[in-house]
Symmetry: C2
Subunit: 342 residues, 2 copies
DNA sequence: AGGAATCTTGCAAACGTTTGCAAATTTCCC
DNA sequence: GGGAAATTTGCAAACGTTTGCAAGATTCCT
């Protein structure tokens, strides 16, 4: 259609007032015309729209935001609790972020991403919310900031958190039923022949703690032992730590539930190096069902989180809260995906 | 220190004027005090700061942005050219995004992420820039929008693009020397014993085209044939497409240069399924050196891009441009990482 | 044709900061 | 102690939009 935007004097028309002058109307009318309000004459509107198009005019969002007291921007914040370094590049969070971007875009919102280190900045959440730059906030991962989030939740409605659901908590959370996931994983390990289990991963973050607890449920019920092998997530350290664990617990375990597919993949490499056959000598179950789970050798049996559904849930609940509704949390069911590692 | 923010009447003090009233000074003074200007008496400043802290006051960024004509926000936009679906979850871009978030945070900027589909929205770049919401923009990937970006570059300084550098282009770009990378890959394949090469990946995007061109350089010089096996990036289709390619070209090739580690990993799976031994029957080289490259079986030989350095370069150049400087493009050297697939 | 009902428009006051300018206060020096 | 210099404050005008209110223009009806 109008591919003639190369001949326009860019920047001539910067404000709605400039445009109004050219069109011979008042700024108010221009504003209404561009906003598509019904109060303006069709003829006038068309003229204004034409001029706007011709000059490539866009109303200033800052000014608009200030006046309307809303910005059309949703804040997405990733608190880096323990493993400060580059947890943000964690595959799972990044994938979730991708889906979030999709969903928010579809709903007409922009996404402001912020990475915070709560330890050096206790005030991270209030700062973000109080900035006036965002209409609502999505927190990706509770990390070790559960209390801080609870504090804020009482006074600030438009916030939704990705993470673990705890009985009686006050903030609205979307997440997988980690405990159930842990149960599925342990059941599978045992069904595949394991009788001495291990949980590989940091047990302090809530999500992981719940996964471990689920596995413990089953271990207790079936009368098999389970031990936790604490491991950091950062890929540099994780490799060595896993190798060390495998050394320490040599023949004492025959089934590993890894807190994450990423850890599971690293574990698989370490197992191969030690010549331990999977799944014959060692059963291994991961968590997440990231793309990598399909590509390891052998392919990973894992507990699937539906990331797309999670993102949709987060956005959906947030929009409802923006509209004033006070929503319940959403707990998504995990799904055991059986491949060849257990 | 002051952990007493639970007893503060949140929201009592919303504006700088409220705060001024309490402190018994004028709004202007409060503004100056909070901004740390030297023009305000130390005593006064301290009083104001104390009150601000006590009430958890934060100046409204929208208003500030409007007045100062700068927002402290950098836009990061990912144009999804061909493979519309979820290219945004592509590992490489996501990793780069993670590093960008780190760098921008360090420099005190926020990051506004936008995902656009140029085909349905020809105006994507102007819209983002003209929104008044961002001080500058980083474009991740030229996709098929080279011309549009060039158009904008003439009139808008604070823009830096991740992508491929072409002789004489007008926009400032940061990226790996893809052609050289392609050469390294092809050389390695041949050195590892390959004599009939293939390039696996879409050859239309500039970066990939350059990688292919580099491989062709070497193939021509060494007198070996090379064929392109066009493949989409979306992980759902890629798997089948690769399998089909392998079927079609059964015995005709013995060395594959994959445009991406992700593709290489998929290719490895497909090769295993067909019982083709790597590297004995087939040599394989990837590109990027993502974490996955270390974990495949066998581990991938690949051409490394220094993503962290790329992010640093992007931010550094952008800041210089924000300061009015007109910077040159930055081309980073690729590095061949030899593992076991070739 | 006259007046009521309906559409369109303009006016001007917000939204919450920042900042140039000038006034008020303090400090300093002889 | 008197005045100049330096420091600290307040005033008020921006920044660019939106919107309630009222005035002006049209339409419609009898």
């Amino acid at each position: 259609m109008s591919t003639d935007n190369e001949r326009t004097p860019r920047g001539t028309v910067r404000t709605i007032t400039d445009l109004a002058r050219i069109a011979g109307v008042s700024p108010g009318t221009v504003s209404r015309a561009l906003a598509g309000k019904s109060l303006v004459n069709t003829k006038t509107r068309e003229k204004i729209e034409a001029i706007a198009r011709e000059h490539g005019f866009r109303p200033n969002q800052m000014a608009s935001g200030l006046r309307r007291q809303k910005t059309g921007v949703i804040g997405v914040v990733i608190p880096l609790g323990h493993d400060t370094r580059q947890q943000i590049s964690d595959s799972f969070f990044m994938t979730l972020l991708g889906y979030l971007a999709d969903e928010l875009t579809r709903e007409g919102y922009d996404l402001m991403l912020r990475r915070v280190v709560p330890e050096t900045d206790a005030d991270w959440l209030d700062r973000f919310i109080g900035s006036g730059m965002i209409d609502g906030v999505i927190v990706i991962g509770q990390s070790d900031q559960f209390d801080r989030i609870e504090d804020v939740a009482d006074g600030y409605l438009p916030m939704v958190v990705w993470g673990n659901h705890t009985e009686g908590q006050r903030h609205c959370v979307v997440g997988t039923d980690n405990r159930l996931g842990g149960r599925l994983a342990a059941e599978r390990l045992i069904a595949a022949g394991a009788s001495r289990l291990a949980f590989l991963g940091d047990t302090k973050p809530m999500e992981f703690a719940a996964r471990y607890a689920g596995a413990q449920d089953i271990a207790a019920r079936m009368g098999v032992p389970i031990v936790a092998l604490p491991t950091h997530l950062s890929p540099d350290h994780a490799g060595e730590e896993i190798a060390r664990h495998l050394g320490d617990h040599a023949g004492n375990i025959d089934g590993i539930f890894a807190a994450t597919d990423t850890l599971a993949a690293l574990c698989l490499t370490a197992l191969r190096e030690r010549g331990i056959a999977v799944p014959d000598d060692m059963r291994l179950v991961g968590f997440d069902d990231l793309p990598i789970a399909r590509q390891t050798v052998p392919p990973l049996t894992t507990v699937r989180q539906d990331i797309a559904a999670g993102a949709r849930g987060l956005v959906d609940l947030l929009l409802r809260r923006l509209a004033g509704e006070s929503t319940e949390s959403l707990v998504l069911p995990p799904n055991l995906v059986i491949r060849q590692s257990a």
